[in-house]
Amino acid sequence: MRNKLISMQEAVAKYTWDGMQYAHGGALPVGTDSIAFGREMLKQGRKDLNVVSNCNTQQTNLLAAAGAIKRMEVGFAGLEVYGFANGLKRAVETGKTILEDYSNGSIPLRLLGGALNWPFVPATVNIGCDQEWCCADRPDEYPCQTKIPKIKDPFTGKEYGAFTVLKPDLAAIHVTMADAYGNAIMLGTEWSRYELSRAAKKVVLQADFIVDTDCMRQFPNLVRIPDVVVDAVVYWPLGAWPHCSTGVYDSDEKEMFAMNAALKTDEGYQEYRKKYVDSYNTWEEYLDMIGQEKIAQLTNNPTTFLMDPYRKWIKSDDAIKRLMSEGRQ
């Protein structure tokens, strides 16, 4: 087993590049996502991204507002009860981002198809509707025959569709807990993170907690992402903020609205970026930026009992830093 703990800066520098197919791993638009990883991509100036997004989150809302997303495949482009995603909406309406529509059920199946290295995935959904007929990549083909082409069931002769499979260059996946080797536990809905971890060519985990491997040996059935599919592990507390991370912190209601309001205009984005992206380097500075009072409020929530069985294996910041410097040797 290889110690894969590295810094956020290193992970983004090593595993991302302009024009790549980038997938982020989260749980719908309010739940957990590798949002801190996306902030660091912005710091490092990543652009022309081809994004695979089961659901938009504040990460893709921010990256789109920054003009960093050239193309995006998505199942859902909003922020649920928090409203439309202004940054992404603006990028799509102005033609800056090409948005290719699927659904929340078909993106995970296409990832599963990529994980299994299938040639295609049978489509019983997203057919007989404009997800089939409208192709943002090839707008002149209408009704489009090539996005979800017809395929005949060899057993009945009935017609269905076929989806392309997804194998992103990188998946940055938020997990609740990871050990230094890349074994990870998710609390709350997995959404499509399991499929993503197998479909992507490289996988970086962004974890709220680093735990000892003994935790994994006590709960191996919870380790839905084993080390063999993981390339790097990044520790970043509160890393899904302002989203929630089940068992750890609530979504930051005020900030969810404020961030989305800011992303409505380019000026707002510039201000947001200064304040919430360029203002920190370390995770300590990041936590200071959020503020201790806010953190205390968000981490006092009705799901925290879900973390109780694992607390004794949580590694301290100092222990994590030691592991990070060991890993570098």
């Binding site: 749980a27 995970p108 997800q131 997995e190």
Partner: protein
């Protein structure tokens, strides 16, 4: 009795759910209607979310999303999207559901993807950019294709009730009749459009939605005026019974933050 149009819509929607059904709820109004039904008359209504959150009820207020901590705090199982939307919804197992709509047409096709006020993709014959980009289908496409039946819940405004939607995000009866069969959809299609003014149901043959009932505070005229096609009216058109005191009390216990009470 003092109740809002939103409350009437939620209660009318909730009344569509029967005890023992397997149902999937979305966020917001849809979830309120569903949990109200469970509390009010369908104690064995079994619900889950498209994230695969099972066995839970909202804690501390209406969830901001279907994966929010407020709906995750007392779950008995967390699985995933392939399970919830694939194995349970698209497969045809779910008995009943609710979806929303930005735009809807007379065959119950739902648009939640964008608004094309001038040229639409189908009128232009190419995929033109929307003037206003909306959220896309989310899991509603799976519900539309797979659920045995489902309710479409929508604010009754003329701009939303189009003869033909700009974009079909979630297919209803497509061009009507048995048009769904072309795609071998396992689900039965929408059973009702429940609005802030009344209840529309599909004609059993043509699948065109007609006015089946209106709310005590609305009228056939108001509804026809706010519908973008020449809405047919049932010869037996009814008035929907207004919420009973018990129904309303139950709803307000669920809607702790009073989100439906804003007039």
């Amino acid at each position: 009795m003092d109740y809002t149009r939103q409350e009437m819509m939620a209660i009318a929607t909730g009344r569509e759910f029967s005890d023992g059904e397997l149902a999937i709820f979305g966020v917001g109004l849809s979830m309120l209607a569903g949990f109200w039904a469970q509390k009010n008359h369908a104690p064995n209504l079994v619900a889950f979310t498209e994230g695969g959150v099972f066995g839970s009820t909202p804690v501390g207020g209406l969830p901001w999303g279907i994966e929010d901590n407020r709906i995750s705090a007392n779950a008995t199982s967390f699985t995933n999207a392939v399970d919830a939307l694939g194995c349970l919804v698209a497969s045809g197992r779910v008995d009943n559901a609710v979806i929303g709509a930005a735009q809807i047409d007379k065959f119950g096709n739902v648009n939640t993807t964008g608004i094309w006020p001038a040229e639409t993709p189908w009128s232009a014959g190419r995929y033109v950019l929307p003037k206003v980009r909306l959220n896309g289908s989310g899991g509603a496409n799976e519900i539309a294709v797979g659920a045995k039946k489902y309710v479409i819940m929508v604010t009754h405004e003329k701009k939303r009730f189009a003869d033909k939607v700009d974009y079909i995000s979630s297919p209803g009866y497509l061009n009507g009749g048995n048009d769904r069969q072309k795609y071998n959809f396992v689900g039965g299609g929408p059973s009702a459009i429940i609005t802030t003014l009344g209840i529309l149901r599909p004609d059993p043959i043509t699948k065109e939605f007609y006015l089946d009932a209106y709310f005590p505070f609305s009228s056939i005229e108001e509804i026809k005026e706010n519908t973008g096609w020449d809405l047919k009216v049932s010869p037996d058109v009814k008035v929907v019974p207004e919420p009973t005191e018990e129904e309303l009390a139950n709803l307000r216990e669920i809607d702790v933050t009073g989100s439906l009470r804003k007039k």
